[in-house]
Symmetry: C2
């Protein structure tokens, strides 16, 4: 049994043929060409499956299912794309369109959910029946796994961790609310806090590492903090506090077996992980009782394809 996992991004359609252990046997990459009709894009997704099958030296008849991760919201029941802002899609029958060419089960879910499923399938949380994966990138997304299956909500609008309110009346968010989680825990937020500090403290290494205020990104703050810069360390510490509060919120509400950190900021590695593990315990409600392990994601860029394939696997497993 093999599965096709399609990672539909705004720039590329990446497709992997994946075995039941989560190993990619062959892959393909085709430009998305955002702005084209959904029929054209779906057709290229099918071509991508064919090309990846060829590279994997597998036949179409061996495929069990196709999974697709999209940067938007899908209706699990109908296989329609509800909303996909990057591609300008609303209410698109993607599953039906793919099935015009390939007579196979097709499953579609949000890309953060799919990345979380990938970690649960063959990454760091592979032994866990429940996990919450967090992407700390430009924004903040999440992938929720419960009883081994992805959960993106009854209406597909869940796992939007980044838009939970962490600080009522806090920093304004693009969503129209104030104080959303991603205003405090995204790479963008860390860069913003770094810029504010760098302007107030021109001697901070944040400035020398970045070269100019405009160049300050999350990485510059992390690098300066790693180098022991006092101002950068304070900024990073505050960032970690907000992230610890967010992980505590996930614990208090859902209490998964594991919380997995992915996305740009997670590349700080053990520097981030150690800081989180150090701050988190003081927020936990039941001190001394078991609580979720916090770990770094393992799969990187392949998570989209592996997770999409896993979507096919968990939904066809008997």
């Amino acid at each position: 049994m093999i599965y096709a996992g399609i990672d539909l991004g705004g720039t590329f359609i990446k497709t992997g043929i994946v075995d039941p252990e989560g190993k990619i046997l062959g892959e393909s990459s085709i430009p998305t060409g955002a702005g084209r009709s959904f029929e054209d894009i779906a057709h290229d997704m099918v071509l991508g499956v064919m090309e990846a099958l060829k590279k994997a030296e597998k036949d179409q008849s061996e495929l069990t299912a196709i999974g697709v991760g999209i940067p938007g919201i899908a209706d699990q029941n109908t296989g329609r794309i509800v909303f996909c802002p990057n591609l300008g899609w609303r209410d698109i029958p993607l599953k039906e369109e793919i099935q015009k060419y390939l007579d196979l089960p097709v499953f579609i879910d949000n890309d953060a959910t799919v990345a979380g499923l990938a970690e649960n399938f063959s990454g760091v949380s592979r032994s866990c029946s429940s996990s919450v994966f967090i992407t700390l990138g430009t924004g903040v997304g999440a992938g929720i796994i419960i009883n081994g299956k992805p959960w993106s909500g009854a209406h597909g609008v869940g796992s939007e961790l980044g838009h939970m309110t962490l600080l009522a009346d806090g920093v304004p968010c693009s969503c129209g609310n104030n104080g959303c989680v991603e205003r405090y825990t995204s790479a963008t937020a860390l860069a913003r806090m770094g810029r504010q500090a760098a302007m107030a403290y021109p001697d901070s290494q944040i400035n020398s590492i970045a070269g100019s205020i405009d160049n300050i990104d999350a990485r510059a703050v992390i690098d300066a903090a790693k180098a022991g810069d006092r101002i950068a360390s304070r900024v990073f510490d505050r960032y970690v506090t907000y992230l610890a509060m967010t992980i505590n919120n996930i614990t208090a509400f859902l209490d998964p077996e594991m919380v997995v950190l992915g996305g740009g900021v997670s590349h700080a590695g053990s520097f981030l992980l150690d800081a989180i593990r150090s701050q988190l315990p003081r927020f936990l409600l039941y001190k001394g009782l078991p609580s979720p392990r916090v770990e770094l994601a393992q799969l990187g860029n392949e998570a989209g394809m592996i997770g999409a394939a896993a979507l096919g696997r968990v939904n066809t497993a008997s």
Copy 2:
């Protein structure tokens, strides 16, 4: 098939014999006698089952399972009570103790989870495969149902909605953190906000309804707001804003089919429901897309017994 549902409270052990439709066929109530040994209390729980069976005119042989709702944390796998502060219990083998007398499957979960399951079994959310039940009482608890089954976490420390951070650095909470949900959305919080307003505005009807500052409770604020008092209305409006933010957080993260409001403040009925339904839409991330329905709980005091019985049912259903 019938089920015994035991609602183990700090004051009474209430037991109901419940049919597959959620109807209570017979019930019993025995003082808990908190402070006694767990063996004595477990023995009385068994006596309660016997008495309820007799009132239901049913035989022990007809029982399929026993469910227990406790004001604490249970380990679903072992049937041990991890922590139950009201009874002074830590690591208590309750399931094993009950099974010394009754050779039946025993399932134990947190009382808020059990109340949520009751609504999902035969209350307002009975047609829903997922729901989040919120108790707006002295504190704020939750019962999470996913795919028809209760979810209280991988370690049993989840569904603690009341201790999620809503306002980082906000009002100090008994848990040691600041700005927890229950500091803004419990009956206690509404009373606190009402007292503060009543002291600042002595002419408010909150004062005349309560009689004195010390007597101000959630109900006095609600009654004054219902009567059109301007100050009480502003307090209630602010309370509803925090509750709407909390429901939006539940939606953004878990997106259940329904959010059910229970506990003391929910007795405000349509006055609360209309206010929430009016404020919630402006917080939602995907405006115009489907989102959870918000409804009032239906089962009241019987929810504990019905939900505990449902615990037996969902865990033995094939």
